[in-house]
């Protein structure tokens, strides 16, 4: 059994079998992370460059940790302090790095499709760590892993994705993955932040009322409202957003049932989630972070094999 693809550009191109293989391999790597020596020598002969054109702490750290735990050599490229600031093109940058015999590229870029462009032009295996408003496949994989860990299954699970659906690559990757694995998805948020034809295009349900969405779901994956967008005419203010779409303890208690709370991070406390919800018993947010390293180890391990 092996992956059907040479790169991880998005969930869109993965089969359900690929996803299953990644998740079960991640389970084995999670065990490795509990050992006294949290390392395996599997990728000892591999060099990986983390090409981050957009700022990120948690994703980059998670990838870096995953790479080191696999004994790979890692290289970090941060766009601001590099030749990109001098105007070097993406392709030039990458070809330069590859001439130094780097085997894999983990890439985050603000332009949707940047990793796909790279994949056409360079021989290395590429992992998409987030491209514009397109996809963030490893986030969806670790979300799925965490849901499965907590609730035992993905098939038939009811997942509500809440927030700025329009601009969220986490949401898109999750929608693709959950449906491939037999789960049902409802997106919830202000109408200005949900694409008009998303139901027809992606087969998800749309709900503008937060409480109804929470009543329906088993899991609520809550997205960060991007503070940069509060000056655009998409919602009147953060305060109004949080009154209508923020999740607090009182709202959760009024549902009369337990649901699982997830968030890709970083959380705007008091906006989309109150602290007592984010830190409470229904939240698996820290498990998501822990699982992220195991899932990324699995992705890198499986892709490194195809490299030959």
């Amino acid at each position: 059994m092996k992956l059907s693809t040479k790169h991880l550009l998005g969930i869109k191109h993965l089969t359900a079998e690929d996803i299953q293989l990644i998740l079960s391999t991640a389970e084995q790597f999670k065990e490795v992370l509990q050992r006294p020596v949290k390392k395996v020598p599997s990728l000892r002969d591999v060099t990986i460059v983390n090409l981050f054109y957009e700022n990120s702490t948690r994703t980059r750290m998670s990838f870096e940790l995953a790479e080191k735990r696999l004994s790979a050599d890692t290289l970090n490229f941060a766009a601001s302090s590099s030749s990109a600031a001098k105007g070097e093109t993406l392709l030039d940058t990458v070809n330069n790095i590859l001439s130094m015999k780097v085997d894999m590229v983990v890439m985050r870029h603000s332009a949707s499709g940047a990793p796909h462009f790279l994949a056409k032009h360079i021989p290395a295996a590429i992992v998409n760590a987030g491209d514009g408003i397109n996809e963030h496949p490893t986030q969806a994989l670790l979300d799925a892993f965490s849901m499965k860990e907590k609730l035992g299954r993905l098939e038939g699970l009811k997942v509500a994705i809440i927030g700025d659906i329009m601009h969220s690559r986490v949401a898109l990757s999750n929608m693709y993955l959950l449906q491939k694995m037999g789960a049902e998805v409802t997106v919830a948020g202000p109408p200005t932040l949900i694409p008009k034809y998303i139901s027809e295009a992606l087969g998800v349900r749309v709900e503008y009322n937060l409480k109804k969405a929470l009543q329906w779901c088993d899991v609520a994956n809550v997205l960060r409202i991007q503070l940069e967008r509060q000056n655009q005419p998409l919602f009147s203010s953060l305060r109004e957003y949080s009154l209508a779409y923020g999740i607090n303890r009182r709202l959760l208690d009024s549902l009369g049932k337990e649901i699982v709370i997830m968030h890709p991070g970083p959380i705007n406390r008091g906006v989309e989630l109150d602290s007592d919800v984010a830190d409470g018993g229904s939240s698996i947010i820290l498990n998501q972070v822990e699982n992220g390293v195991a899932v990324r180890m699995a992705v890198l391990y499986l892709l490194a094999n195809r490299e030959n």
């Binding site: 050992r35 395996v40 591999v46 391990y301």
Partner: protein
């Protein structure tokens, strides 16, 4: 303590532990399972799927017996030794196998406890069938 190697050594180690439990109090037997997929020396040339590793106790200063079904080139045991050393420093590691493909070793590794040694050539395969996942129990020598 006994450590069975995944995926096939565990059938033998399960049996051994069952027999031991008839002779000594079960609580005194320390039994774990080890998967060495991530330590293989061909880990990037071919894709192997890992199974469970469960070593619920410290191996520090203990006498460990590794258990596997067939000893062939010795590379699996080499990987198992590397994996074990990441768990701690055992006082001693010994090897127990059901079948030893005698002159086929590629590394200097020999069994301490042995079922049967047989002579085979490179093109042959030795397969052990266990009743846990097959209809019959047998050791087969196959010409490919």
């Amino acid at each position: 303590m006994i450590i069975g190697l995944q995926p096939r050594g565990i059938f033998l180690s399960d049996r051994i532990v069952q027999e031991l439990e008839k002779l000594v109090p079960p609580a005194t037997i320390q039994y774990g399972k080890l998967d060495i997929t991530f330590y293989r020396d061909d880990v990037r040339k071919s894709l192997h799927i890992a199974s469970n590793t469960d070593i619920p106790f410290s191996i520090e200063n203990k006498n460990v017996i590794l258990v596997d079904d067939v000893l062939y080139t010795g590379r699996t045991i080499r990987a198992a030794l590397d994996a074990l050393l990441d768990y701690g420093r055992p006082a001693k590691v010994a090897l127990c196998v059901l079948v030893d493909r005698r002159f086929s070793r590629e590394l200097p590794i020999q069994p301490d406890y042995l079922g049967k040694a047989i002579d085979t050539i490179y093109s042959q395969r030795v397969t052990v069938l266990w009743k846990e996942n097959n209809d019959s129990e047998q050791v087969m020598l196959l010409d490919n």
